[in-house]
Amino acid sequence: MDTEPREIRELVADQVRRFRAGDGDAAEPLARRALRMSLRTASALMRSREDAADVAQEVAVDVLGSLGKLRDPEAFDAWVHRITVRHAMCRLKKGRSTRKVEAPLALLDEEGLRGAIPDSDIDSRLAARHALVGALSRLPARQRMALSLRYVHDLPDAEIAAALGCRVGTVHALLSRGRRSLRADHQLVEVTLDLKEEG
């Protein structure tokens, strides 16, 4: 399922080696990659874009600060997922936003698209994202994480297990229960169907 081309992984591994060797220019592409991956995961889990960005930022800083522990530079992505899980789980279980006024996650990115694509498409995406976050918020944290790693990053079960620190069998159970719960969420089913029909 992990379809990352070999060339990309080698490129990232080379950036990791350069970063470790003190090449400051390697920090930016690695930070961007870690941010992109963790922001997507966090965006499926957090209720606000600020929270998602906060998690992503902490993950990226930790990832770059801990690259010395990565024996195989090609395992950069797995390292990002592992640290994302740790930060997101703690945030989900214990973290409370320090902000009262938050921009809904649904607004993330989409404002920049106004005018570029039909408003109805944007509205559908906003509704779907809002419904997704609402549906996920009713699931246990580990189910949310497992679903996000599978359906945001297409990770296979073994890699999800590695990121969550559990057995593959546990991942099967988490995904199965999670999908069942999503199916039972009428609002999510409705807006998702709308999205598919428009697509």
Binding site: A27, K93, L108, V152, A162
Partner: protein, 275 residues
């Protein structure tokens, strides 16, 4: 059994977040922070090493502190009968300093420097401590209620005491960046109603960690290697009146089936941490 419909639904549901990109400001902030951190760690590496004895003394203090200490709330606060955990702080937030939980800072006691700088904190109080960890509570410059585990950078804020909920016990952390002491103990901390006089941290194996005399806040030095399960709140008669599970990793322990090339970064805990 996974149906195609379930799979398609899940895939479609997550589609809106699959193409999100970080903005340039965020990337720049991370690069700047990493750069600062590297410089700081270089400075740290040049500093003289602390004597090992000091670390051992700290660890011993941590063990002692976890089992024995939690700071008493003021008498006025004890007499208040509010049973929600938010009620412990509501009077103080409302402007009545006599209602404040915990104790004020000693004359010679200073807040960690970063707290002064970051939060412009007002009326900081210590509501619990264990080992080298102190749990501070303070009213923010905008009036909100804040908690900070001193020296770790882990903190959280609430606009009102009502946000703390109405359970007898509320875990605040370890937070997004668990900190471990020299022996690998991770501080698990939170607040509790006045009816909670003892908290217990249960493990998958072995005896629980008990802290008596809880009156407002607590810090427990957990041993991640023993599999912390739950923090239980007990009243003065030893009756269980609440609890919160710990169903997430306290440290970044190595997974059972790590992908090739990854080393674990968990802390091993040596010795027991008996009550």
């Amino acid at each position: 059994m996974l149906s195609d419909h379930d799979e398609a639904l899940a895939r479609a549901a997550f589609a809106p977040v699959r193409d999100i990109e970080p903005d340039e400001d965020l990337v720049a902030r991370v690069v700047a922070r990493v750069s600062r951190r590297k410089k700081a760690s270089r400075r740290f590496a040049l500093a003289p090493a602390r004597p090992r004895l000091a670390l051992q003394a700290l660890a011993a203090l941590a063990l002692l502190g976890a089992t024995l200490y939690s700071v008493p709330v003021t008498r006025a606060a004890i007499e208040e009968t509010g049973e929600s955990v938010g009620g412990v702080f509501s009077g103080w937030l409302g402007g009545d300093s006599a209602e404040a939980p915990g104790k004020p800072l000693e004359a010679s006691e200073k807040l960690p420097e970063y707290m002064e700088y970051l939060h412009n904190s007002k009326e900081p109080r210590v509501i619990a401590e264990a080992g080298r960890y102190k749990l501070y509570s303070y009213i923010g410059s905008a009036g909100g209620l804040n908690f900070e585990l001193g020296g770790t950078g882990v903190g959280m804020g609430y606009e009102s005491a009502a946000e703390l909920g109405d359970a007898p016990l509320h875990l605040l952390g370890p937070g997004a960046r668990p900190h471990a002491d020299a022996q690998g103990h991770v501080p698990v901390f939170g607040i509790a109603t006045r009816s909670v006089s003892r908290v217990e941290l249960t493990y998958e194996s072995g005896p629980p960690l008990r802290v008596s005399g809880v009156e407002g806040g607590f810090v427990l030095l957990a041993e991640p290697s023993r599999g912390p399960v739950e923090v239980i709140a007990l009243d003065a008669n030893g009756k269980e009146i609440g609890g919160e599970p710990i169903d997430y990793p306290l440290v970044d322990e190595p997974p059972e089936a790590p992908p090739p090339g990854i080393e674990g970064s968990g802390h091993a805990s040596s010795g027991s941490h008996e009550p």
